[in-house]
C-alpha cells in the first residue's frame, strides 16, 4: 500500500477541475498546471527509488484485495514513463505559455492539458484492463478537445477522422475486453497472467490477443497509422508536441504490458505478427518521411518510424532488445517533443509550411538551427546523444535471435530518418536567407527556453545513460519475468 501511487493521476484531475473555476485568472492557471507537472515529476523520482528497494508497488483502492478491487500497480517501466511524461508535459506547457494565445487560454486549454496528462498517467499505472480502457478514454476525450480547440477548418476536418477512428478502435477494445472476461473471468493483469499460465494459452486466447493487438496498433500507429500525420499536424505547436510525445506511447505501453505479462506463451504467433507489422511500419514511415515537403508531415512520419522501431524490440523480446526499447521509448518522448516544437517554431517564424519557402534560417536564428541539428543527430542515433543506446541494444537483440531482415530495416530506416531531417536542415536552414534584417521577427525567449531544455535533456540522457540504466534494467527485468509482477500483486 502506497498512497503516492495514485497522485500522478489524481493531481492533474483535481487541478483540471479547479482550473475550470479559475477561468479569468490566466496567470494563476499557468502556475498551477506547471507546478502540478513538476510535483508529478518529483513523485515519479521518489517512486522509482522506492521500487528499487521494495520491488513493484501497489495500491488497492478502497482496501479491496486483488483480484477483486480496482488497483494501481507501479513497476519501474510504468514509473519511468510517468516521470518522462511529467517532464515533457511541463516543458510543453512552458512553450504554450508564450505561444498558445489568449483565446486558447480562456477556453480551458490548461484544464484539458491536465486531463490529458491524467489519462496518460492513469493508463501507465493502472493494474487492470478495464481501467486501462477508462484511462484511455479520459486521455482521448481530452485530446479530441485539444485537437479541435481553435475551430479552424483544418482542425475540424482532421479531428472528425481522428474521433471516428478512435471511437471505432475503442469499440474493438471493449469487445476484446468482453471476450477476455468471458474466457478467463477476470480483468486484473496479474490474475489474468497467472490464470493463463495455469491453463496454457489456448488458440482462443491467441485470437483474443490478436484482437488486442489490432486495437493497440490503431492507438499506437503500428502499421494502421494513416490517421496520424493528418491529425498531428492540425493543432497548434504546443499541443502537437504533446500529442507526438505522449499519445502513441500509451498504445506502445499497453502493447508491452499485454505481450510481456499476459500473452507471452505463443511468441511464434503473436510476436512474429508484431515483428512483421513493425517492419512494415518502418517501411511505410520511411516512405512517408521523405515523400512530403510539409515540415509537419515530415515530423509526423518520424513518429511512425519510431513506433516501428520500439516494437521491433518487443517482437524480438531478448533482454537486450527490451532494454533498448525502454531506453528508446524514453528518448523518443523527449526528442519528439523537441522536434515538434522546433518545426512549429520554424512555421510560426516564417509563416510557411513547405520547406521550399524557407531558406537560410540559420543566419537569422543560429540557436534554432543548431538545436534542430542536435535533434536530428539524436534521432539518427549518433553516439553521445540519447538515441544511440536504444538503437544499439535493439540491434544487438535482433542479431541474437538472427532476424536479419528486421535488423536491416531498423538501420535502413535510421538512414531515412537522417535523410528526411537533413533535407529539412539543408533546404530551410542553409542557403540564401530570405528574411532581411528588418523583417526578422525576434525569437521569443519563451520559445527558445523549452527547446533548449529539451536539447539538454536529450544530451543528458545520452551522457547520463549510466544513472538511468539501473532503472531501465530493472524495468526490463520485470517485463521479462512476469512472476515478479504477479508476486507483487497477488502474494503479499
Amino acid at each position: 500500500m502506497n498512497n503516492l501511487l495514485v497522485l500522478p493521476m489524481v493531481l492533474p484531475v483535481l487541478a483540471g477541475i479547479i482550473l475550470i473555476f479559475l477561468r479569468p485568472y490566466v496567470r494563476l492557471q499557468r502556475w498551477i498546471s506547471f507546478s502540478v507537472m513538476i510535483v508529478n515529476a518529483i513523485i515519479g523520482i521518489i517512486l522509482l527509488n522506492q521500487i528499487q528497494e521494495q520491488g513493484p508497488l501497489r495500491l488497492d483502492i478502497g482496501g479491496w484485495e486483488p483480484p477483486f478491487g480496482i488497483m494501481f500497480v507501479a513497476d519501474s517501466f510504468s514509473v519511468l514513463l510517468v516521470l518522462t511524461t511529467s517532464i515533457v508535459a511541463s516543458i510543453c506547457l512552458l512553450y504554450a505559455f508564450s505561444s498558445i494565445g489568449k483565446s486558447y487560454e480562456n477556453m480551458f486549454f490548461y484544464s484539458f492539458v491536465n486531463f490529458l496528462v491524467a489519462g496518460v498517467n492513469g493508463s501507465f499505472l493502472t493494474g487492470d484492463l478495464f481501467n486501462l480502457y477508462v484511462a484511455f478514454e479520459v486521455m482521448l476525450l481530452a485530446s479530441y478537445v485539444l485537437i479541435t480547440l481553435g475551430g479552424r477548418e483544418v482542425q475540424l476536418r482532421e479531428s472528425i477522422k481522428y474521433v471516428a477512428i478512435n471511437v471505432v478502435s475503442s469499440w474493438i477494445f471493449l469487445i476484446s475486453i468482453a471476450y477476455l472476461y468471458g474466457t478467463m473471468g477476470t480483468l486484473n493483469f496479474a490474475h489474468l497472467s497467472s490464470r493463463i499460465a495455469e491453463s496454457g494459452q489456448t488458440p482462443l486466447l491467441t485470437v483474443i490477443s490478436i484482437i488486442f493487438l489490432t486495437v493497440f496498433s490503431l492507438k499506437a500507429g503500428l502499421l494502421l497509422y494513416y490517421w496520424l500525420p493528418g491529425s498531428y499536424s492540425a493543432p497548434p505547436t504546443a499541443v502537437a508536441a504533446l500529442f507526438g510525445a505522449l499519445l502513441t506511447k500509451v498504445g506502445i505501453y499497453a502493447m508491452f504490458r499485454m505481450f510481456t505479462l499476459i500473452f507471452y506463451h505463443e511468441p511464434s504467433i503473436t510476436h512474429t505478427i508484431i515483428g512483421v507489422l513493425a517492419g512494415l511500419t518502418l517501411i511505410g514511415g520511411s516512405i512517408g518521411a521523405i515523400a512530403y515537403k510539409d515540415v509537419r508531415q515530415i515530423v509526423s512520419y518520424n513518429v511512425v518510424i519510431a513506433v516501428g522501431f520500439i516494437l521491433v524490440g518487443l517482437a524480438v523480446a531478448t533482454p537486450e532488445a527490451i532494454e533498448g526499447s525502454i531506453y528508446y521509448l524514453v528518448h523518443d518522448m523527449v526528442v519528439k517533443a523537441l522536434l515538434f516544437l522546433l518545426a512549429g517554431t520554424m512555421i510560426s517564424l516564417t509563416g510557411y509550411i513547405r520547406i521550399d519557402y524557407m531558406s537560410g534560417l540559420i543566419k537569422n536564428y543560429p540557436m534554432l538551427g543548431w538545436m534542430f541539428f542536435i535533434a536530428m543527430l539524436s534521432l539518427a542515433g549518433v553516439p553521445p546523444l540519447s538515441g544511440f543506446i536504444g538503437k544499439l541494444l535493439i540491434g544487438q537483440g535482433t542479431v541474437e535471435v538472427g532476424s536479419y531482415i528486421l535488423l536491416a530495416l531498423v538501420f535502413i530506416s535510421s538512414l531515412f530518418v537522417l535523410y528526411s531531417l537533413l533535407r529539412v536542415f539543408l533546404i530551410s536552414f542553409w542557403g540564401e536567407t530570405i528574411i532581411s534584417e528588418e523583417d526578422e521577427e525576434p525569437l521569443k525567449k519563451g520559445w527558445l527556453i523549452p527547446c533548449v531544455l529539451l536539447t539538454v535533456a536529450t544530451i543528458g540522457l545520452g551522457l547520463g545513460a549510466e544513472t538511468i540504466s539501473v532503472y531501465v534494467q530493472d524495468a526490463a527485468n520485470t517485463l521479462l519475468n512476469p512472476d515478479i509482477y504477479i508476486d507483487a500483486v497477488l502474494n503479499d
Binding site: 480502457y133 479530441y144 475540424l156 472528425i160 471516428a164 471511437v167 475503442s170 468482453a178 472476461y181
Partner: protein, 112 residues
Amino acid sequence: METLITILAGVLVTVATYLILSRSLIRVILGTAILSHAAHLLLMTMGGLKQGSVPLLGEDAGSYVDALPQALILTSIVISFAVTALFLVLAYRTYQETGTDNLDELRGFKDE
C-alpha cells in the same frame, strides 16, 4: 437467453456498420452510437446472464449475480454518451465551418 442477446448484438453491429459506411456524417455518428450499444450487450452476455440476487454481501441468498459486467457497462455507457455528445457538437461545428456534412468533401489534406 445468451444466444438471443448475442444475435441481437450481431444485428446491432450490422446496422451500425451499414450506417458508418455511409457518406453522411450524422449517419456515421448514429452508427458509432449503435455500435457501442452492441458492445454493451456483448459485455453483459460475456459475464453470463445468470439468475440470482442482487450482488450484495451479507444478505442471505442462494446465489448472486456477477457484479462486474454491470459495473463495466455502466462506466462504458457513460463514456459512450460523452463521446457521442462531443462528436455531435463537433459535426455541427464542422457543418457551420465547411458548409457540408458529406465526408467525401471533407477528405484530403490541402496546403493552406
